[in-house]
Amino acid sequence: MPQATLLQAIHDALLEGMARDPRVILLGEDVGREGGVFRMTQGLMRRFGQERVIDTPLNEGGIIGMAIGMALNGMRPVVEIEFADFIYPAFDQIVSELAKMRYRSAGQFTAPVVVRTPSGGGIKGGHYHSQSPEAYFVHTSGLTVVMPSTPADAKGLLASAMGGEDPVIFLEPKALYRTVRGEVPEGEHRVPIGEARIARSGDDLTLVAWGAMAPVAEKAAGLAAAEGVSVEVIDPRTLWPLDIGTIVGSVNRTGRAVILHEAPRSCGFGAEVAALIQERCFLHLKAPVYRVAGFDTPFPYALEKSYLPDPRRVLAAVRAAMAF
């Protein structure tokens, strides 16, 4: 199987999706001629034309609102928001309109819009180029929220999102765009929405992590192994609908769980995962469910390294759970 970066894998999914389905239209700021801020859509305008790859004005609410209308009317828009931090001007369109179409029309229509956006820190971007907004969207019923961490998953999940019937917020861990490589199946490749991936098997503790934290979790698991602790790493891949079954199965076996994310700790998605685990695994738990997360602060510039969880911080939580 050929190797690809996360960025190439997402690019391929877009290209193949467009080639397969003429209803697919890309839109966003500088996605066309420029190929996007991260060069994700490079070459697609040349290949598919200006009608299918649309450079928009700077206007996130307008872009997503327009995509909703297009989707209602038989198109398959895939929107790029340059950074997840710029999705908030479009928050109203997503929360009030996009998420509710199927429900409010009692199933008469839906808006299968895919909103792709680079998420998370790691590039010293400061307050507005670093945030992880997944919890807001998971909290909004009617949205599917996806965040892959491997190239193969990125390609397969984006293909599923583009082929699905409901709106998807597709969060891309920008820190991994060019730093992870992996095997990616050629041609049509789908990873089902709503299925977790066991990134590493283990018996003593279950570590749940997504996006750029998945590789951090694997590193932490390596450190724990050196101390004789066998950690199972689960990457949910789809945050909502969550594959809680896989997590519960693992925790019932290991008896311990640590959840890791980069977004601020309080009311982060980790809180929901912890609640689900304690509801379903209560009698199997040998220790409290711990969370390792970003701090409850705006995203800092100079202190980014202190803010972002690293394998040492994860290891400390693993040790706490083991020693409890």
């Binding site: 500088d30 004005p57 700077l58 001007p89 590039i123 507005y128 800092p300 510039y301």
Partner: protein, 321 residues
Amino acid sequence: MNVARTEALDLHRKMGLIRRFEERAEEAYGQGKIGGFLHLYIGEEAIAVGAMAALKPDDDVVTHYRDHGYVLARGIDPGLVMAELYGKATGISKGKGGSMHMAAVDRHLWGGYAIVGGHIPLAVGLALANQYRNLPRVVTCFFGEGATNIGTFYSGLNMAAVWKVPLLAIVENNRYGMGTAVERASAVSDIYKKAACLNIPSVQIDGNDVLAVRDAVREMADKARAGGGPRLIEAKTYRFRGHSMGDPQRYRTKDEVEEAKARDPILLWRNFLLGNRIAEEADLRKISDGIEAEIETAVRFAENSPPPDPSELCANVLVAE
């Protein structure tokens, strides 16, 4: 000629200071000493400098993220700004913000804002508060032409016009919003015309002519201050560097950039000073030497300053800590 010699030389010094500051910042970025994003103002200096020369020291200023020029033009110590870029504890925001969010409340600089257009309603609110508190202060809000395509531009200016608040919007039309030329994204390329739909008086000026900027800002700010309601200035200019660092600039030709450099605002002003015998070469050289020394001190200050203590991470989230 409506400019005194000392002011004329000061305008020259300030534009040169911003230019050299950013050239040094660009170097430091290349050496990995500055992280993240760095949006240079090179080529647009006459707007910040001309505007600050016209505004009063307690007039409020709210800006977008391409913001080194405004704070330097207002006389903030370049060392504090450079240290912020370096992410040092001595930076203007203690390294919390970096390049795009320079603020100094004692100088009525309410900050650079990186969500494009997000700051426009804030400026309207500052202006409404000035009006309510009977303070004779104008609020000047700077942003690029790209920002005039997002809703907060219209909704903010509409409120400003409804309540006739003392707001001066300055649109720096540098032709491109990232890689998108103005005519590809805006139904109207002459941005000042957009104010007409809100009955806001507006003008289009040469943003590379520091005196034209100063005079237009003075006139418009005075009218806004006198209760005449908001005003808008479109300052036409050109950014000589990429949008941010590492921009391959495939959206424009090298020739176009070179052509624009013939109208470098610093060059224009220099020619004006020499042509009108306001200054001699030797005077200008002395100013350049002074700038060089000041920037060198700023860089050294940034280099030698400590990084913020990790305990700073959780400070200033809420009032009581």
